[in-house]
């Protein structure tokens, strides 16, 4: 039983230890690593991934998966860019609305049509990507700078990036929902045994529905930040975001099979991956090695694979230890 506990602790808090180690490494190796500018840029940029990963975290905890988040974010960025001339609120509403719509489709396919989440969200991924290109007319859509829309992605709260603040609030809410509402606990119960949960009288379909809708909405919000931060709606962005999000969730100790997980450590997972890629950039900048964007892609992919494999092994131990 003690070993079970140890494995569980490593599974849950390992990411925090790794995060601390990585920060220490960066701090010792690069002068400007902990500079105000670098930290704030890092937070601003990774806030998008944080939002997507939050939605993914809930979906995975029910035992499902949402592969559409990347292209839904792209769709959200285009929709919000198109609505940006009308102001911040319409821009936000358009982006989030597009995401919610996609989420609604996923939710319906999974809970009503009983499609496997993998298949349903793969289809939505294609459809969202196509819709984004159609809406954008096959090019990036500049946002309006006059309406103040860019503040969402580029502005600061005093000195703290607004998108990072949005992500922090979203994680607070997410954590509250997971730990202190019946719906949140039902999310975990469903992942731990869907049929059992249904027999326990939980409204499994309703909870799963909500989770996919939320994931869509959060991806849409990430899209709004994307458009606002880079000044344009980007129909072809978002490739590989789902993998980043899945990896962050898994690094954070959430079981890929569902039933056990945490919102806070998912955020730590996002930071870990974000900082890791930041470190790669620094290495590039130092001139020791010179990695093209393609090589960086390869390295990221391999890293994510390693992380997921490690997690899978740890998970098996943990389930055996039960």
């Amino acid at each position: 039983m003690n070993r079970a506990r140890l494995v569980r602790i490593i599974g849950t808090y390992g990411v925090l230890i790794a995060l601390a180690a990585l920060i220490l490494f960066g701090f010792l190796r690069y002068d400007r690593f902990l500079s105000f500018y670098n930290v704030m840029t890092l937070l601003r940029y990774n806030s998008m991934f944080a939002l997507v990963a939050l939605g993914m975290c809930f979906v995975i905890m029910t035992g499902g998966i949402d592969l559409s988040v990347g292209s839904v974010a792209a769709l959200g960025s285009v929709a919000s860019a198109l609505a940006s001339p009308y102001g911040i609120v319409p821009g936000l509403a358009a982006g989030i609305g597009a995401g919610l719509a996609a989420g609604l489709i996923n939710a319906t396919l999974v809970t009503r049509a009983n499609l496997m989440p993998f298949i349903a969200t793969l289809a939505t991924m294609q459809a969202a990507s196509g819709s984004a290109l159609l809406l954008a007319g096959n090019q990036t859509v500049s946002v309006s700078y006059e309406s103040g829309f860019t503040a969402i992605g580029q502005g600061n709260f005093w000195t703290f990036p607004i998108p990072a603040a949005i992500a922090v609030v979203a994680y607070l809410i997410g954590s509250l929902v997971l730990n202190y509402t019946g719906t949140g606990r039902a999310v975990l119960a469903i992942g731990g045994g869907e049929d059992a949960s249904r027999l326990m009288g939980l409204r499994t379909d309703r909870v799963k529905f909500l989770v996919y809708v939320a994931s869509g909405g959060l991806a849409g919000l990430a899209g709004v930040i994307l458009a606002s931060q880079f000044g344009a709606g980007q129909p072809i962005e978002g490739v590989g975001w789902e993998l980043f999000a899945i990896a962050a969730v898994v690094v954070g100790g959430t079981l890929l099979t569902g039933g056990s997980g945490s919102v806070v450590t998912t955020l730590a997972g996002v930071l870990l991956l974000g900082i890791l890629f930041n470190v790669l950039n620094f290495e590039n900048g130092m001139g020791w090695i010179s990695l093209s964007a393609y090589w960086q892609s390869v390295i990221r992919g391999l890293f994510l694979l390693v992380v997921v494999l490690l997690q899978a092994r740890l998970t098996r131990r943990r389930l055996n230890a039960l």
């Binding site: 730990n179 019946g182 045994g193 009288g201």
Partner: protein, 517 residues
């Protein structure tokens, strides 16, 4: 408990002419059930008679094809277990349907969370879980994942959960199959309390003696039909069995002694022995010998270390102390594969978690461990597989539409038979059976017990764990009583009786202080 004459209490539930087919095959054909307020109602029938299906129709898990349900006088149409629960029907399903990864508290409180300022009040929920479990004299850390506890504890958690809903009707589908006598006693006192509060209980069990202790009324099902309903005190045990099996009383009477005659001359030399086995707190000092052709019974209360000892023997866990020998050679298995290679088999008590592969067919489940033996050059020998599968379906009376039915679709008792058949088909030298007849009906139970005896007569050594004293006393040639992880007493079957075993279970030595190892 005094009971007003029939008719004084109003009808709470009426199910009339319920029909349900699965893929065209009827599971229920004209099943009826009437339950009064404050009544404990037994629902019995052979494995596959349709008891669980009737319950799942009532709770909206299955949709009925025809028939009528009235609850509190009103037509009752629910489409999900959630709706049934909201409407005052709380159910403990046959397979423990909880979530092992989540904490005990969550498993008890999910669906009726306690809130404070709109948010979950964990302290209150932990306290509630502890309070409910204390009714069953269980004190465990409710914050731990449920999966860390043994089957009996999980069953008690499931019961605590159902009781916690303050329902009008509590349904218990074979709640006692994984409990020992002490826990059953606790459960019965809780049932009496429920009854006093005016709550009705539907109670499914294959242990007929239990029924007379708690039930007022009984409904008997056979092949998806209700064949009889009567007051418990007006129907004898033989009559019950006869109605279940669809035979007359005289035919049933001869069926009594299940295991058949022991023949001591067939017992050979010592095949396996364990000395001073220990592992953690659960097993502290267990020693025993098992001879060829002998059935050794392990008796003891929950937590006595019976299953844990079996796991050590089978290499599922590693002992921290003690020695084992198998066929004269030192034996220390690192993993179950080593035990299997040494000729052992282990039919576990946790058929859902460790045994059955629900999505596979009966034939596949049955021959899973046999595949290397019945393959030639890696190719499965179809006719041999079919022959083995058909033999066991026949011998154990497994009720299925054929070898290719998915095990998930079988009734609970028939799943147990498949699991048992898998190990019997392996033809081991030593077979560990943990609660082998759990959830199996009276008719089939006798068949299985006789089969075990027959195999023992052919030289198989059997280590049988059973919470049913009767099964141990009648079935075993030698009884080892375990208490708190120590083997305290060894009794020859002829010298054993219920009283001696019970005394040993509770106090550590038998009344007449037999051989103590």
């Amino acid at each position: 408990m005094t009971r007003p004459p029939d008719g004084l209490f109003p009808l709470l539930l009426e199910m009339r002419d319920i029909q349900k087919r699965f893929a065209g095959i009827p599971a229920l054909a004209d099943a009826s059930l009437s339950v009064r307020s404050g009544e404990v109602h037994a629902l019995i029938g052979q494995n596959g008679a349709g008891k669980s299906t009737l319950i799942k129709v009532l709770t909206g898990y299955h949709r009925k094809d025809a028939g009528q349900v009235l609850f509190e006088g009103e037509p009752f149409e629910v489409h999900s277990p959630h709706q049934a629960q909201v409407n005052g029907i709380s159910t403990i399903y046959q397979e423990i349907n909880l979530v092992p990864l989540r904490s005990v508290t969550e498993n008890i409180c999910l669906g009726r969370e306690q809130r404070r300022y709109g948010l979950l009040d964990w302290n209150a929920m932990h306290a509630e879980a502890e309070r409910l479990l204390s009714r069953f004299a269980i004190g465990i850390d409710v914050r731990r994942p449920l999966g860390e506890f043994n089957t009996a504890t999980q069953q008690m958690v499931a019961i605590a959960r159902a009781i916690g809903f303050s329902a009008r009707l509590v349904i218990m589908d074979e709640p006692t199959s994984s409990l020992d006598e002490r826990e059953v006693g606790v459960l019965f006192s809780v049932i009496h309390q429920l009854k006093a509060e005016g709550v009705s209980v539907i109670f499914v069990s294959h242990k007929l003696d239990e029924l007379y202790e708690v039930c007022d009324q009984v409904t008997i099902m056979r092949d998806g039909r209700t064949v009889r309903s009567a007051a418990m005190k007006e129907i004898g045990k033989l009559e019950l069995v006869a109605a279940m099996l669809g035979r007359d009383v005289a035919a049933v009477e001869g069926h009594a002694t299940a295991f058949g005659e022991r023949d001591r001359s067939r017992i050979g030399d010592v095949m396996f022995s364990a000395r001073g086995l220990g592992a953690g707190q659960a097993v502290r000092n267990v020693s025993f010998d098992l001879r060829r052709g002998e059935i050794a019974g392990f008796a003891g209360l929950l937590g006595a270390g019976r299953t844990e000892t079996a796991r050590l023997v089978f290499g599922a866990d590693r002992p921290s102390a003690g020695q084992m020998t198998m066929e004269g050679a030192a034996y220390h298995p690192d993993r179950p594969a080593d035990a299997i290679a040494a000729g052992m088999g282990f039919c576990t008590e946790d058929r859902k978690g460790e045994g059955i592969v629900p999505e596979m067919t009966v034939a596949e489940n049955l021959t899973l461990a046999l595949l290397p033996k019945i393959s030639r050059n890696g190719v499965l020998d179809d006719s041999r597989q079919r022959e083995i599968v058909e033999r066991f379906i026949r011998e154990l009376g497994i009720k299925c539409s054929g070898p290719n039915q998915k095990v998930r679709e079988l009734s609970g008792g028939n799943q147990q038979k498949v699991l048992l058949a898998r190990w019997l088909a392996m033809n081991p030298k030593l077979l560990i059976l943990d609660e082998p007849t759990r959830g199996i009906d009276v008719g089939a139970k006798g068949e299985i017990q006789r089969l075990i005896r027959r195999l023992a007569d052919q030289g198989l050594g059997v280590l049988m764990i059973s919470s049913e004293l009767e099964e141990v006393i009648e079935g075993a040639d030698r009884i080892f009583v375990l208490r708190d992880g120590v083997s305290v007493t060894e009794l020859e079957a002829e010298a054993a009786n219920e009283e001696k075993v019970l005394t040993a279970m509770a106090h550590g030595t038998s009344a007449s202080s037999e051989v103590t190892t």
